[in-house]
């Protein structure tokens, strides 16, 4: 626990974390600038916060970039740490002092938490900033301006307690980001270059995007189902499947290899 605390302190003070925060804030503000519309006070239902925030639409440039660079945002804060510590010799020093399993678990936990924070930041920041501009009017199905379809995930919550829906969806994105960060961390056992480690999850994510779009398998596309506007109806089993796949891969790759790795 002490080690995790130490690592967390280190994780939120890295240049990668600061870069991720900067990118997130820029994207959150860029989305507001592009989608800004006057609140309609005429005969139409006024623009609501829940249709205009970054997770309520899928038309803006900031939305596309946020969804696209999600893996890089997740991996920036802490995923390279294992690789860099191996290179610098710091990991060998740690191995002398504590059991390997504990050390690797601390790396894993920190990568997950920092990745989760970094990926949820653009959404959380944008939601709160938009809340300063637009009224948080309850979504109505009859206005046809709210994107999630009636067969979407947590849709009852969206039309009854939208704040809880937003929070839940941000949690889904955060867990997904955390899992990607762990995959990135475990790649540190296989690759020797920081760029390859950071870019590989992004490239794989893009290939999944490409193949699922071409085959019409929108429901399997993280770019689509992670967007709270749910252009393709998100399904919980698919999301859980992705979580299991990424957690399984990263745990095996990190622990199975890390516990036996000969650093000398």
């Amino acid at each position: 626990m002490k080690l995790l605390k130490e690592f967390l302190k280190r994780g939120v003070s890295t240049a990668g974390f600061k870069t991720a925060v900067m990118i997130s804030t820029t994207l959150a503000i860029a989305q507001i600038l592009q989608t800004h519309t006057k609140v309609d006070l005429g005969y139409q239902y006024p623009t609501s916060l829940f249709e205009i925030w970054i997770g309520g639409e899928w038309a803006s440039y900031a939305n596309a970039i946020t969804m696209l660079v999600l893996p890089i945002l997740a991996c920036l804060p802490f995923s390279t740490s294992l690789l860099l510590d191996k290179k610098s010799g710091y990991l060998a020093q740690l191995y002398l002092r504590k059991p390997r399993a504990k050390i690797l678990a601390a790396y894993y936990g920190t990568a997950f938490l920092t990745g989760a924070i970094a990926t949820s930041l653009p959404f959380a920041t944008n939601l709160l900033l938009n809340a300063l501009i637009y009224p948080s009017l309850l979504p109505q199905t009859t206005t046809f301006t709210f994107l999630p379809s009636l067969r979407g995930l947590f849709i009852e919550l969206f039309y009854t307690i939208p704040w809880v829906f937003c929070l839940l969806y941000i949690c889904i994105i955060a867990i997904f980001g955390g899992c990607i960060a762990c995959v990135g961390l475990s790649l540190g056992n296989f690759v020797k270059n920081k760029f390859v480690l950071l870019a590989t999850p992004f490239i794989v994510y893009f290939w999944i995007y490409f193949i699922t779009m071409q085959l019409g398998l929108y429901k399997l596309n993280p770019y689509v189902f992670l967007n709270p506007s749910q252009a393709g109806n998100a399904q919980m089993p698919i999301i859980l499947g992705y979580y299991a796949l990424m957690t399984g891969f990263s745990s095996i790759a990190l622990f199975a290899r890390g516990l036996k790795d000969d650093l000398i």
Binding site: T37, A59, Y61, A64, N193, K194, F195, I203, F206
Partner: protein, 281 residues
């Protein structure tokens, strides 16, 4: 060490000894060919096309570069980025991403000492970016040729029905120069984006370079302006289809302008850079 020797060194190390990275281009080409074949089959079944047509090499290229219609933003609408088109560039960004910085902080320091001039080193890297774009694109085209040959329909002529179905009849009517649009402009845009990427990689880090050019690429899909050079390789937005600025003359002007700016920024920065302050890559 002369510029010629430096270029030779870069091509050997950054292109030929990294041949495995170029395989990503071959995989991409095969998948894109299979996708068009499947789309043609679906179109025939839905009676959008009269009969089963065999696509040619240029049809496959058209399919990659058809891109997407010009986008007019409405906050309550929706938009999908063209995956096939984007991936063509993203794979290239991945291939060139780390070589320069790795070289600079690795064996390249000795080469730089032998070269005796930072300017020559930088020019050599710029030539390497062009050569990598050329080889990457050649791998894709050659893979497409082999794909057609294996399927017994090797042809280079454009199939009017497929083009009309996928892009627009205007392209045919306006007599677009397909050789330039399909072979020269993509290479030029790859080179320009590569120049932006290596300059930013040198200024900051390779991952920031990748992030920036990827954002620049997606911006080309959203905003129709000549400074976002991706617009020049979108057939659906070419002058022949919708009018506007996207013709080959403008493509040459803007691409060369942006590449030159990137070249000079990189040069000035690199001349002053403290290269002994090693960064962990």
């Amino acid at each position: 060490m002369t510029l010629f020797k430096l270029v030779k060194y870069d091509i050997k190390n950054g292109v030929f000894l990294s041949w495995h990275k170029l395989l990503i281009g071959a995989v991409y080409a095969v998948i894109s060919c299979m996708i068009l074949d499947r789309q043609i089959q679906n179109a025939v079944e839905a009676k959008h096309l009269p009969s089963m047509l065999k696509a040619s090499v240029f049809d496959y290229l058209c399919n990659i570069f058809k891109g997407i219609d010009r986008y007019s933003f409405t906050a309550k609408g929706g938009f999908q980025i063209p995956a096939l088109w984007c991936l063509f560039f993203v794979c290239y960004f991945f291939i060139i991403g780390r070589y320069i910085v790795n070289d600079l902080y690795g064996f390249g320091t000795h080469i730089l000492l032998k070269a005796k001039s930072r300017k020559t080193w930088w020019i050599s890297k710029c030539i390497w970016v062009f050569m990598t774009a050329l080889v990457y694109f050649a791998v894709i085209v050659v893979t497409m040729i082999l794909y057609c040959a294996f399927n017994n329909h090797l042809s280079f002529s454009i199939t009017k029905e497929i083009l009309t179905f996928h892009v627009s009849t205007n392209l045919w009517a306006q007599g677009l120069n397909f050789g330039v649009a399909m072979l020269v402009l993509p290479l030029l845009v790859l080179f320009t984006m590569g120049m932006i990427q290596i300059t930013i990689s040198l200024l900051t880090s390779p991952i920031v370079g990748l992030l920036t050019v990827s954002s620049f690429l997606v911006a080309s899909v959203y905003f129709y302006t000549p400074m976002l050079v991706g617009n020049f390789v979108v057939l659906k937005r070419s002058e022949a289809v919708i009018g506007g600025f996207a013709n080959s003359t403008n493509a040459f002007i803007y691409c060369l302008l942006i590449a030159t700016i990137a070249f000079f920024i990189g040069l000035v920065w690199f001349e002053r850079k403290d290269i002994l302050k090693n960064e962990q890559q």
